[in-house]
Amino acid sequence: MITKEQIRLSKLEEYCMKTEKTPSQVMKSDKNRSEMIQAAYGSIDEYAKFCAPSDENSKSIQLFEKLDSLPIGILLPVIIKTADKDGRLKELSVDLFYVSKIIESYAKETAKFAKAFFHEMREITQENLVKYRKYE
């Protein structure tokens, strides 16, 4: 399966061969990038369609949303208690609710951060598109 990144690689390679510009020259300048995009995709709008968030991306955001809403703090003590058949954790007097709360907090923070991260990635892509449109 060809990924979006591999398509981008081949388009940039083609453009560099045609124009004899170095890849870093193209990637550093917004004007050059805009030219490359227009040459490769026809227009910035076509490129915007190509950059549109894929199903996989929205699936991963949904996954993190589920993780954020999951009652880990309630479920985890029950799961650990069932798994600890020998009662070793009980012997060590481990407070399962406290441990579960810590795990829940970390998991929720991860989910929140991941959602924010994906959102920012989309925002930056949109900002870049606005920059490229200036040279259309």
Binding site: P23, M27, E109, T110, F113, I124
Partner: protein, 148 residues
């Protein structure tokens, strides 16, 4: 009697030059493709290899440039996301967790960006090395004897 080469040198000195002329005349007939290959062979370069190298170098440069652009794109998103999170993070030092997550994610993204050819080359080299070692190995004879 003055040797031929010395005579040429003397003539050149008289003309004002100090060029060392080769003793044997170099054939000046590198017009055909075969002759060009012969010339490239002499200096240790093969024409096709040379072209491939150029293509591979460009591919590597493209890969590096896109990787750099994506990395800065992700870094920007990462810093903005942290800024946005701000007080929402409950623990005093969740940074290691976030950094870890960022590392995993960037590795995941970069793994998609490795050009297929690069992977294939490494694989081919590995297979070739295995083949060569098996070819030269004395174990091969031993195993053959065992089978016989």
């Amino acid at each position: 009697m003055i040797k031929r080469g010395t005579r040429i040198k003397i003539h050149l000195r008289i003309l004002g030059g100090n060029i060392m002329m080769p003793q044997e005349p170099v054939p000046n007939n590198f017009g055909s493709a075969e002759d060009l290959t012969a010339l490239l062979d002499k200096i240790g370069v093969r024409a096709e290899e040379n072209l491939d190298d150029g293509r591979n170098t460009l591919r590597e440069e493209v890969f590096k440039a896109i990787r750099k652009a994506n990395s800065s794109h992700m870094e920007k998103a990462y810093h903005r996301a942290i800024k946005k999170m701000g007080d929402n993070i409950q623990y005093s030092s969740p940074r290691h967790l976030i950094t870890g997550l960022y590392g995993i994610m960037s590795d995941f993204v970069y793994s998609f960006m490795i050009p297929q050819k690069e992977g294939a080359d490494t694989k081919n080299k590995f297979i070739q090395a295995l083949y060569d070692s098996a070819k030269n190995s004395p174990i091969k004879d031993y195993s053959q004897k065992e089978i016989e």
